[in-house]
C-alpha cells in the first residue's frame, strides 16, 4: 500500500512580519526588516538589544501567557474555513508559559495557580481544549529545531493512519530567559542579525507562532496549498551549543528529509529550487550550514535565503515560520530576500539571494538547526510534485534490548525489589548515587536531571551492549529544574545584570537528550517531548511512530527531577504528595518483535475533553485494545497511573475501563509506589518489564495472593487529562 499524500490545507502565522499569511506575504515581497530594540519588557541595564517582536497588540485573554495567545492566533488562522477539529496536535515550544512564570517569580508569587500555564505542554493542551481536539496532543521541546520536527511526527501520524488531519507547528514568545540567555552566550548581534554576511555577529531573539493543517488524502483536497513531501531529523552528538563545524548533522537531516520525500539526488537534477536556511546570523551556525549544503548539493546550490535578518530567530517557531513562508514561496513563485546581508561572506560556499526574486519554486527545503545539535529539515512541494513510492508503516511492538530505572529506592534492581515487596520507593536518590560510574569530567556542568538521564544511559549501555542506540526520545514533564532555577534566581537577584551561560544551556528542555546523544554518539533523531504527566508516553508513542524495520535501536527515556522550590509550584500532583519524589526509566528498543525478548507496544494515546467526564475516550481505548489489536487476552495484570491532581477523574475512568473490558484483572496503582512525579510511568514501565520477566505479580502488590501471568503481559494505563495504554509482553 502506498502512502497517502500529505497536503497543507491550512496555514496560520503571527510573527514580527505581521499577523496572517497575507500580511506575511506582503512583508516578504517588500523585504521588510522588522528588527527593533526590545520594548515588550523593561531592560534594567544598558541599551535594549535588537529583537524580533510582534508589534501589533495581541492580548485577548490576560490570563493566558503570550505564548499561548500567539499559538491560538496561528491555529485559528490555519483552521479557518475548516469546520472540524484536527485529529491530533503536535506543537513545538521551548518556553511555554515562561513569560508569565518570570513575572510571577519576580513578584514572589507563591500561589501555584499563577503557574498553571507554565508547562510547555500546556500550549498544546490549551489549543486542544479550545479547538475540541480529542486525539493525541504532543509537545516537542527540541530547542530551535522543534517547529520543523513537529512536521516529521505529523507526517508519520498521517502515514500510519493514526490521524487524517493534524495541526502542527511551533510557538515561542519573547521572555527574559531566552533574551538574557542567548546574550550570555554572546550570540546576539547588537546591530541586528546579518545572516551570511562577512561581518555577521550573531542573532536576534524573536517571537512567533506558525501552524500548518496537514491532511492525508488519496486525492487533492479542495483547499490544498502545497504538499508536505518529507522530513528528516538528526543529531550532531557533538556539543551542547556549538554546531558540528563540517555541518555533519545538518547534512544528515537534509539527506533524511530528501530520502523521506522520495527524492534521489543522483536521479533528479535540481530537485530543490529554494532552501529556506536556518541562517541565524551567528558565525558558527551560518558556516556549518553553508558547508553542509555545499556537501549535499555538490556545488549546484539552489536559491537560498534566511529571513532571520528580517524576523529574528523565533526558536521553536522558526522552522514552522520557515514552512509557512516556503509554502507561500511555492504558491506565489517568490524567493524571499536574505535580509540584513550587506557584504556576502566569500569564505562561505554559498551566496544567498539579496533581494526578493520572482521565480517558480516547485520544491523547497526548510532547515532548522538547534542547540544540542538537534537538526530537522522538511521538504515542501507544489501540488503534484510528490513521489509516493514507499509503503505504509504501521507502528508495532518494539523489542526491549535493555531497561533501567531510578527511584528513591535506588537503581533498577533495588527499585524492583522494593516493588515486589509492595513497599513505596518514593523519594530522591542522592546526587552521588546518580553520578556513580560516570566520568567526573562529563558531570562537571550537569545538575540533577541530566545526571539522572546519563545514569540511566550508563546502565543501558552496559546491558544492551553490543547494541547501542542511535536515536534518542526523551520525555520530561519539567526539564532541568535545578539549572532553570539557578539561571532565573541569579538573573533576578542581580537585578537582571548577570545571566549564566552554563545554566542557560543546561536549562533548555532538550539539554539532557543532547547529553544522551553525545554519550551514545547517537546521530539519529533526537526528540524531547514535554507533555506534563504524559511525557514518557509521548516519547514512546513518537519513537514507535518513527521506528522502522531494520533501523538501529533507539533509547526512550522518561525522567524528572524534584526541585524544592519549583516542583510544588509547577506540578499540582507533586504538591499534593506527602513525599518529594523523582526518578526515571529508560529502554533500549528495536523495531519489531525479536524472539526471546520482551516488548513494549504503545497502543493508545489521546486527550480527554475539557471536563473529562465523557466516557467516550475509555470506550475508544477499550475498542482499540479489543478490536484492531485483539489484545484483550494478552495481559494478566494492569499497572495504572492516576496523577494525584486527577484523582477523581482518573478513578472514574478506571471504573469505566474495568466495566468496558468485562474481565477480572488485578490492577495496581503504580503512583502509590513510585511517588508523584511527571515521568512515574517510565519507572512503572520498567517495573512491568521486570514482573513480566518474573511472570508473577507478588501478593504484596495484588493484596489477594500472587498472580501467575500465564505467559501473558502487563498493560500500563495512564489516566487523567490524557489516556494512554502501553502493553508489555514477554
Amino acid at each position: 500500500m502506498k502512502y497517502p499524500q500529505v497536503y497543507i490545507t491550512g496555514m496560520g502565522i503571527i510573527s514580527p512580519l505581521g499577523i496572517g499569511c497575507a500580511a506575511t506575504l506582503s512583508a516578504i515581497t517588500r523585504d521588510d526588516k522588522k528588527i527593533s530594540p526590545l520594548s515588550l519588557f523593561p531592560v534594567l541595564h544598558g541599551t535594549p538589544l535588537p529583537v524580533g517582536q510582534i508589534g501589533e497588540p495581541i492580548s485577548r485573554d490576560a490570563r493566558l501567557p503570550r505564548t499561548h495567545q500567539l499559538a491560538l492566533i496561528a491555529a485559528r488562522e490555519a483552521l479557518s474555513g475548516h469546520n472540524r477539529p484536527p485529529d491530533a496536535i503536535v506543537i513545538g515550544s521551548t518556553t511555554g508559559g515562561m513569560p508569565d512564570t518570570e513575572k510571577g517569580l519576580m513578584a514572589g508569587i507563591d500561589d501555584p495557580d499563577a503557574y498553571r500555564f507554565h508547562a510547555t505542554g500546556s500550549v498544546g493542551d490549551h489549543l486542544a481544549i479550545i479547538l475540541g481536539c480529542r486525539g493525541p496532543v504532543l509537545t516537542v521541546s527540541t530547542a530551535c529545531s522543534s517547529g520543523t520536527a513537529t512536521f516529521k511526527i505529523a507526517l508519520e501520524l498521517l502515514r500510519s493512519g493514526r490521524a487524517t488531519r493534524v495541526l502542527a507547528g511551533g510557538v515561542d514568545a519573547l521572555c527574559r530567559l531566552t533574551y538574557y540567555g542567548f546574550n550570555a552566550l554572546q550570540l546576539i548581534d547588537p546591530t541586528g542579525p546579518r545572516p551570511f554576511d562577512r561581518h555577521r555577529h550573531g542573532m536576534a531573539v524573536a517571537e512567533a507562532a506558525a501552524m500548518l493543517l496537514l491532511e492525508s488524502s488519496q486525492t487533492v483536497p479542495e483547499n490544498a496549498v502545497a504538499e508536505l513531501l518529507g522530513a528528516g531529523l538528526s543529531c550532531d552528538a557533538y556539543h551542547p551549543t556549538a554546531p558540528h563545524p563540517r555541518g555533519d548533522g545538518a547534512l544528515a537531516a537534509m539527506s533524511a528529509a530528501l530520502t523521506d520525500a522520495g527524492i534521489s539526488m543522483s536521479r533528479i537534477r535540481d530537485p530543490i529550487d529554494y532552501i529556506h536556511l536556518h541562517g541565524t546570523g551567528t558565525v558558527d551556525n551560518d558556516a556549518a550550514e553553508s558547508v553542509a549544503i555545499d556537501r549535499l548539493f555538490s556545488h549546484r546550490i539552489p536559491a537560498v535565503s534566511s529571513i532571520k535578518g528580517s524576523t529574528g530567530h523565533s526558536l521553536a517557531a522558526a522552522g514552522a515560520v520557515g514552512a509557512v513562508v516556503s509554502a507561500l514561496s511555492i504558491r506565489h513563485g517568490l524567493v524571499p530576500a536574505n535580509t540584513g546581508l550587506v557584504e556576502p561572506d566569500t569564505r562561505l560556499p554559498l551566496c544567498p539571494v539579496e533581494t526578493p526574486v520572482h521565480q517558480p519554486v516547485r520544491r523547497a527545503l526548510v532547515n532548522s538547526l538547534g542547540f544540542g545539535g538537534n537538526n530537522a529539515a522538511a521538504v515542501l512541494g507544489q501540488i503534484g510534485s510528490g513521489n509516493p513510492v514507499k509503503t505504509a508503516h504501521f507502528p508495532r511492538a518494539l523489542s526491549i534490548l535493555a531497561h533501567a530505572c531510578r527511584t528513591g529506592a535506588g537503581n533498577t534492581d533495588a527499585t524492583a525489589e522494593c516493588f515486589r515487596r509492595g513497599q513505596s520507593m518514593a523519594g530522591q536518590l542522592s546526587s552521588a548515587a546518580l553520578s556513580a560510574g560516570l566520568p567526573p569530567a562529563t558531570l562537571r556542568r550537569l545538575k540533577r536531571m541530566p545526571r539522572m538521564v546519563l545514569s540511566l544511559c550508563e546502565t543501558i549501555r552496559r546491558k544492551a551492549a553490543p547494541a547501542s542506540p542511535q536515536s534518542v526520545f526523551l520525555g520530561t514533564g519539567w526539564g532541568a529544574l535545578t539549572e532553570t532555577h539557578r539561571f532565573l534566581t541569579q538573573l533576578f537577584e542581580s537585578d537582571q545584570r548577570f545571566a549564566s551561560p552554563i545554566d542557560f544551556s543546561g536549562s533548555v528542555h532538550n539539554a539532557p537528550a543532547g547529553q544522551a546523544a553525545i554519550f551514545f554518539k547517537a546521530t539519529g533523531p533526537n526528540l524531547t517531548l514535554t507533555g506534563g504527566d504524559y511525557s514518557f508516553e509521548q516519547a514512546l508513542f513518537t519513537a514507535s511512530l518513527l521506528a522502522r524495520d531494520g533501523d538501529p535501536p533507539c533509547i526512550v527515556i522518561g525522567a524528572d527531577e524534584f526541585h524544592p522550590d519549583y516542583s510544588p509550584l509547577f506540578d499540582r500532583s507533586c504538591r499534593l504528595a506527602r513525599v518529594p519524589a523523582d526518578g526515571g526509566g529508560a529502554f533500549c528498543l528495536q523495531d519489531g518483535k525479536l524472539p526471546g525478548q520482551p516488548s513494549l507496544h504503545s497502543l493508545f494515546y489521546a486527550r480527554t475533553e475539557e471536563n473529562g467526564e465523557n466516557p467516550e475516550i475509555i470506550s475508544r481505548l477499550a475498542a482499540a485494545l479489543d478490536g484492531r489489536h485483539s489484545l484483550s487476552d494478552k495481559y494478566s495484570a494492569i499497572l495504572y497511573g492516576i496523577p494525584k491532581c486527577y484523582d477523581s477523574l482518573g478513578n472514574m475512568q478506571l471504573k469505566q475501563f474495568f466495566s468496558a473490558i468485562n474481565r477480572q484483572v488485578p490492577g495496581i496503582p503504580y503512583r502509590s509506589f513510585t511517588g508523584e512525579f511527571a515521568t512515574a510511568s517510565a519507572v512503572a514501565t520498567s517495573l512491568a518489564v521486570t514482573l513480566v520477566q518474573d511472570q508473577v505479580v507478588p501478593s504484596a502488590l495484588t493484596g489477594t495472593g500472587s498472580v501467575d501471568l500465564g505467559g501473558r503481559g502487563i498493560l500500563i494505563l495512564g489516566l487523567g487529562a490524557s489516556v494512554s495504554a502501553i502493553l508489555v509482553s514477554p
Binding site: 550570555a184 554572546q186 551542547p240 551549543t241 567526573p440 569530567a441 562537571r444 549564566s500 552554563i502
Partner: protein
C-alpha cells in the same frame, strides 16, 4: 598580582565546578582553554560573567576574550589594569 592569580585559581575552580582540579593545576602561563583543564567556550563565557560580577571588568566580545583568556596570567593582568576598586 600574585594574590590575584591565587584568588582567580580558586574562583575558576568554583565557577566551573572543576572538581578534580587543584588551584596549582591552573598554571599562570599555560593555555587556559582547550588544555588539560577541559575548559571550553561555554566555560569561558561563564568566566566572563564571574569577572564582571567580581571585578567589574567587562569582556564583551570574542576577539578580546581570546586575548584575555589566553592564560591565567593574561586574565589577571587584564583584570589588574581594568578593575574598578569597589571599596577604598
Amino acid at each position: 598580582m600574585e594574590n590575584l592569580i591565587k584568588e582567580l585559581q580558586i574562583k575558576i575552580i568554583d565557577a566551573l565546578d572543576l572538581v578534580d582540579v587543584t588551584p596549582d593545576d591552573i598554571a599562570a602561563d599555560e593555555p587556559l582553554i582547550g588544555g588539560k583543564l577541559g575548559i571550553d567556550s561555554i566555560d569561558v563565557l561563564e568566566l566572563v560573567m564571574m569577572v564582571e560580577k567580581d571585578y567589574g571588568v567587562l569582556i564583551d566580545n570574542q576577539e578580546l576574550g581570546t586575548k584575555v583568556f589566553a592564560s591565567l596570567g593574561a586574565l589577571a593582568g587584564f583584570i589588574n589594569e581594568n578593575r574598578v576598586e569597589k571599596t577604598r
